[in-house]
Symmetry: C2
Subunit: 458 residues, 2 copies
């Protein structure tokens, strides 16, 4: 039986970043990754496999960086954890002993067993599995009518990619009145949904699926609650993910009401010497402290760094508890991003926020070739001006500007601070120094706050 | 004589942002801008007038946003300020009385009167003047051999643009051993200089100009200290700017050793009711507190917001004193940016810094079309891990990533904080969640710090 100081189960972003971080920080420790498949996939790249990459291998992600540091990797599914003996047992019966065990088992697509037809042939899910996606990649090649159930990020991005093929007819069925509404404000969800329509995706919102209808075990159509029936050669279910915690549950680790492994700020589970990180572990909303169901690779890797650094002693503090949930995407050439709260969150916690929006351009002068519009919207507490959320959309730089806003949220900065924020600007790279979106939106927010107070001008 | 609550002299970025901010924050105040030319120019856009915009008017910037708020503007040069009577007198003899006066008179190109030939015909400067640049735009059209003296941002950007014309031969004479060395580290200055060479600019570094030689009053060549003579149909001198403070000096305002108007954190000059902002006012280095000579539109507009908000009472505090000096540019398709200190600053203050560099890509997977390399380099204090400077180069998103780093510098964040920083990532917009440049560079910095200390691993 091989013995290791640290065993990590799972080789997704959380597993790999934890493994690399531990091995770098504590090079004398022996570290093993146990993974289920030979090749891994970059999860957020999966939608782009179907068109822009036109290849599954181009989206693959391996453990080479970890092996190069002296780590070991074995491809075998773990079926049991013996907490007392501190060992894990694989499907082939191999045993590996650990001193510290880290679960980075990720998440699995939600399978609606209550939905008739959910298991017909040509009904697919977006599993974060190389083998599964490789098969799906082949299967979808000759499918003409594709119905995607669920208009969140994964469903929408896969739809946008498949709709780039002229010979495919792609539709989305979404039970909410807009796509992306779990992450984006109503305003941005509407913009995103319209953009998706312009990308030749037919969208049925405020609509649910009653049945996936098959003939001879093969899907032929999707029956909606409106009575309509959509012809379907393939169906993709993209209605969310669940923490992959069957093994954790079997091991007796504490799970929360969403079946996520309960962890503290440093990834400790209810069992001594066992840690969890990423999608399989509990996530809290940064504002409310309530459990939420955000599963993002970027959040997972942040947790992984904190766990990796601190595995043998607290080296970096996790002063900021909870996830800000920074999302970004690009649909049909429009980049869109969000961080923290937006107006959809108001009813959840009786939130007092004001929103402030500024639309400019991402280059200056705006007459330069390649200039795109750029909008920054902030969600700010009217009592102290603190920035609780933001959205950015327009040109590609939205994907980085949202990260500046995320840092401001994380550091509890207010619009007062942002107003004296020093930035760099350049014609070919950014907005003009006279109208940077983040700062202009902060100005508007402060004006709104002041308008609700007595005016003390002299 | 017209009376105003606030008079602002100058309509560059500092003047306009101050004017708009004052008028928005204190709408009942009467505000006048006095400017010298009918049309203004976006200063950082000037190099792009010559090729990418191929138009001066496309780079113009007016006072419309200020007029729309109820502000007034008059185009007349101010020749005198009467501090006692609180009025300004223009070249035509018109008088305008003020309660508060703001000088936003900007900067003017340094004219080396000691250099023989500095005033020959076809020797030009990059004045931030619509009329001057409009004339230069026409003059350069038929010039074949153009010699640019000075390889800082302005000289290099103008050279890059002019070299895009196949019929022009463009060279730079730079007295330092690399271009851009005032703003960039030696590593990045070298990369930038090489990139400029590949853009068909001939560069003479470690070289100075002995004489600009003319025939019949017209420039014909530039004589270098190496003995070499460069044929020249036009010469552009781009060797820096001086604060435009002739009027301030005449008015008896306190000036520092660089002839910049001395101001406090809120823009107050030595004279009651007179304020100064932007290039004409004093700038301090954020780290040393020493006077420096940074002149950036982005710094100027930050000062302008602080002045505008606080003109009738301190509404936003300027907790961060000094300029971080956030620069960005793009040369021949390579975006480059810097903020704060770099290794060139070490001798200035016996600075203890470690540098940490990470090179990745700006999309993920890196196999996506349009992916560019992206490097982040941080300069960090080894004693407390605080981030004192950064550089980013590669794809266009460098221009926004440097602003996140600038915010980290301004908020005095350390690499410890950055390691738990939550970001958003997306294949088409950013690096992978497993390897975001800013965070990876922070990791490397921390490893370097730890390597210099006793290892406490257990």
């Amino acid at each position: 039986m091989k013995e290791f100081d640290v065993i990590i189960i799972g080789a997704g972003p959380a597993g790999i970043v934890t493994a690399v971080t531990v091995k770098k920080q504590y090079p004398s420790k022996t570290v093993l990754i146990l993974k289920e498949e030979e090749k891994g996939l970059i999860p957020c790249g999966i939608p782009y496999v179907f068109h822009d990459l036109d290849s599954v291998d181009k989206d693959s992600m391996g453990v080479k960086s970890f092996i190069d540091l002296g780590g070991e990797a074995v491809t075998e599914k773990v079926v049991e954890i013996d907490k007392e003996k501190k060992l894990v047992i694989t499907v082939s019966g191999s045993e590996f002993s650990y001193k510290k065990l880290i679960l980075a088992t990720g998440s699995v697509p939600f399978v609606p067993k209550f939905l008739p037809g959910y298991n017909l042939k040509n009904v697919f899910y977006i599993k974060k599995s190389y083998n599964y996606i490789n098969n799906l990649f082949g299967e979808l090649k000759d499918k003409k009518n594709i119905v995607i159930i669920g208009g969140g990020f994964i469903g929408a991005e896969v739809a946008e990619q498949l709709a780039k093929f002229n010979d495919k007819s792609v539709s989305i069925v979404e039970k909410e009145d807009l796509c992306f509404s779990k992450a984006f404000s109503s305003e941005l969800s509407k913009i995103a949904t319209e953009k998706l329509k312009k990308a030749n995706v037919t969208i049925h919102t405020s609509t649910s699926v009653q049945e996936i209808i098959g003939e001879n075990g093969n899907v032929v159509s999707v029956k909606l609650n409106t009575g309509k029936e959509l012809r379907a050669d393939a169906v993709i279910l993209a209605i969310g993910y669940l923490p992959n915690t069957t093994l954790a549950e079997k091991t007796g680790l504490g799970l929360n009401e969403y079946k996520a492994i309960i962890v503290d700020n440093f990834g400790h589970t209810s069992a001594k010497h066992i840690f969890a990180v990423g999608d399989c572990s509990e996530t809290l909303d940064f504002l409310t402290g309530r459990k939420d169901r955000i599963m993002l690779a970027s959040t997972a890797t942040s947790e992984a760094r904190i766990l990796g650094y601190n595995l043998y002693g607290i080296r970096i503090r996790n002063n900021f508890t909870g996830t800000i949930a920074v999302f970004s995407t690009e649909i049909n050439g429009l980049a869109m991003a969000s961080a923290g709260v937006n107006d959809n969150d108001i009813p959840l916690i009786n939130l007092e926020i004001i929103s402030a929006k500024y639309t400019g351009v991402d280059r200056h002068p705006g007459t330069l070739p390649g200039t795109s519009p750029l909008t920054v919207k902030l969600y700010v507490s009217p009592s102290d001006g603190s920035i609780l959320g933001g959205e950015v959309w327009g040109g590609k730089s939205a994907g980085e500007i949202i990260n500046t806003i995320a840092l401001a949220i994380q550091e509890k900065l207010s619009v007062y601070t942002v107003l004296s924020y020093q930035i760099g600007t350049h014609p070919l790279l950014t907005s003009a120094p006279t109208m940077p979106g983040f700062i202009k939106a902060a100005e508007i927010a402060l004006s709104k706050i002041n308008n609700t107070k007595t005016n003390h001008n002299t």
